[in-house]
Symmetry: C2
Subunit: 344 residues, 2 copies
């Protein structure tokens, strides 16, 4: 492996100082056309490519942001990531991806910045469950944007939809259909389950607004928001003496699992059990039946997160911690409206 071409090599060939080559390469102003051309030619002739590492070291920044998600194969996250990567690239940033596998220890390690100084300039973090302590222990100098989970304490930005309102809306939709026994799948009644609890809160509020009280045995907890958990929870619900006739699932994956269970027992969606999901992942637009869902504006969440993070990275004094509410909407499909319903 021969030595790589450096700035100095180019400088020598072009007969200028290496600093001038650097100026040309970085497109700085104040370089005569003549010089620029000469340098440009030398660059091409030698096939020079800047050493990003050296540049970063000299500049004291890495040009990378880390995105931390629990699971990469969860469609919601991969769809979000896709937009994040695009937005970051547009600003010249690379994206380093890390998955925590939902391990709280792992999440904590990440936010503490661990031993990886300068590997990235900031973090976009979508925690599964992050306790107050972990947040308090974090490196205060590391720009941070949190997605979804918890609201800002002022030292970082938070971007997410209004979970309580969205969940209330979802539940109201089921009640509007005239369903009598509406269940909820996905509660997480423990410290790290804030996001889940907000959904449960919306679920309760929707009932309360009509003078109803949800049956407690219809609120099912699940460790994760995935298909198997949804399938299992639904099986449990159907085994009840008085099974539900509608279910609010805290993610589309849970809904897909739940529907699978319902259908495999010979029941029909939505006739026997109406199902509503959350996230609006592509799967739900092509499943049988298609899934009614809460659709967060993922594109906006992603671009806002990147925007805020870059602002934090580049600004001298850390900006006020912002609480960004992304819009969401209810998308009605077959799993509540019946076959043939065209989604909007």
């Amino acid at each position: 492996m021969r030595r790589e071409v450096t700035l100095r090599d180019v400088a020598e060939l072009a007969g200028v100082s290496s600093r001038t080559v650097s100026n040309v390469v970085n497109g700085y102003a104040n370089v005569t056309e003549h010089t620029r051309e000469r340098v440009q030619r030398a660059v091409e002739q030698l096939g020079y490519r800047p050493n990003v590492l050296a540049r970063n070291l000299a500049q004291g920044r890495s040009g990378q942001i880390a995105v931390v998600v629990p699971y990469l194969d969860t469609p919601y996250f991969s769809e979000l990531l896709q937009s994040v990567i695009r937005a970051a690239r547009k600003s010249g940033y690379n994206v380093l991806i890390d998955q925590t596998d939902g391990d709280p220890e792992h999440e904590r390690a990440f936010i503490a910045h661990g031993s990886r100084r300068l590997l990235f300039d900031g973090i976009i973090f979508s925690p599964l469950g992050l306790d107050q302590q972990a947040l308090a222990d974090r490196d205060p100098n590391l720009p941070l944007v949190i997605l979804g989970e918890r609201s800002s304490d002022g030292s970082f930005d938070h971007v997410g939809i209004d979970d309580v309102a969205a969940s209330r809306q979802a539940t109201e939709h089921l009640l509007d259909l005239g369903r009598q026994r509406v269940a909820a799948i996905g509660d997480q009644p423990y410290a790290t389950g804030e996001a889940a609890q907000r959904r449960t809160q919306g679920f309760r509020e929707a009932h309360a607004a009509r003078g109803l009280t949800p049956r407690e045995d219809l609120i099912i907890s699940t460790p994760r928001f995935n298909r198997p958990d949804g399938a299992r929870a639904m099986a449990h619900l159907l085994d009840l003496p008085e099974p539900p006739d509608a279910v609010f699932c805290y993610s589309d994956l849970v809904a897909l699992g739940a529907i699978r269970t319902i259908v495999s027992r010979g029941l029909r969606v939505p006739e026997d059990v109406a199902v509503i999901g959350y996230d609006d992942i592509e799967d739900g637009r092509f499943s049988n039946p298609t899934i009614t869902t809460i659709s967060p504006d993922k594109e906006m969440i992603a671009t806002t997160a990147v925007e805020r993070l870059l602002l934090r990275i580049t600004s001298a004094t850390p900006p006020e911690g912002l609480e960004v509410r992304a819009p969401h909407k209810l998308i009605i499909r077959e799993s509540t409206a019946g076959p043939g319903h065209r989604s909007c």
Copy 2:
């Protein structure tokens, strides 16, 4: 933002040279217990964390590998990525993710290493379509492992399953069911569609082995392997005067789209049309019906790819380009076997 703690700061506090601190931090041999302890204490007291950038620059490596995939939100890729990230992390490497959005120009830019020298030490590349030229133009010094698409020319490793054999097996399964008009969705009869063409080849071979010739109008091309393409292609097939009674879809996503179309027309899967997919993504295990599919050993593909790449990165002389065949198996589910079929 105060200055970060450096090796020198620690050295000063511990009363040793900075080189010794480096030795301790990196766990090099030949450091007395006494010294190690003193240094350790100083490290903790100051909260020292190594600057990865500086280390990498000094060592001439970045400790990062890039994984390039067409689309991050395609479950097959995100499932694969998940395993790749895990395997890389285990060896102390970080993973930089890039999506090409299926843009050949973008793919070419990546493999040429572009202007990003030393940002990563090697690439795991899962191209959508990569022509011979792009491969020829690539940076020969950049360790490369290619997934799926094309076989090795000796200068890189290739990891993938035997597409022809797997496709033949899939098609045979449909023929074994006694289906008369077996269609194929996903052909790509142009330069960059090698992977698709291998599947079509297997499709033809399966027919030929029984003295049959597939109807050409039942082989449908699609630009991508996603749900909408599958849905569209299936609609076209069902509009034929003699529609198929079985379909081999070149990905599970295509199968999901196809099934959606079939069901929404009031037909049944598999009674009216049997459907088989490819990739064994989680979606297909919870869809209605569940999808019979070709299941590649993704875990092995991922770990082998990482293993080979790291070998290339660390070995002085580039190893022989290896052609790795990962195993696959046919998993029979409801979309061909009928309701209630338990997957293996």
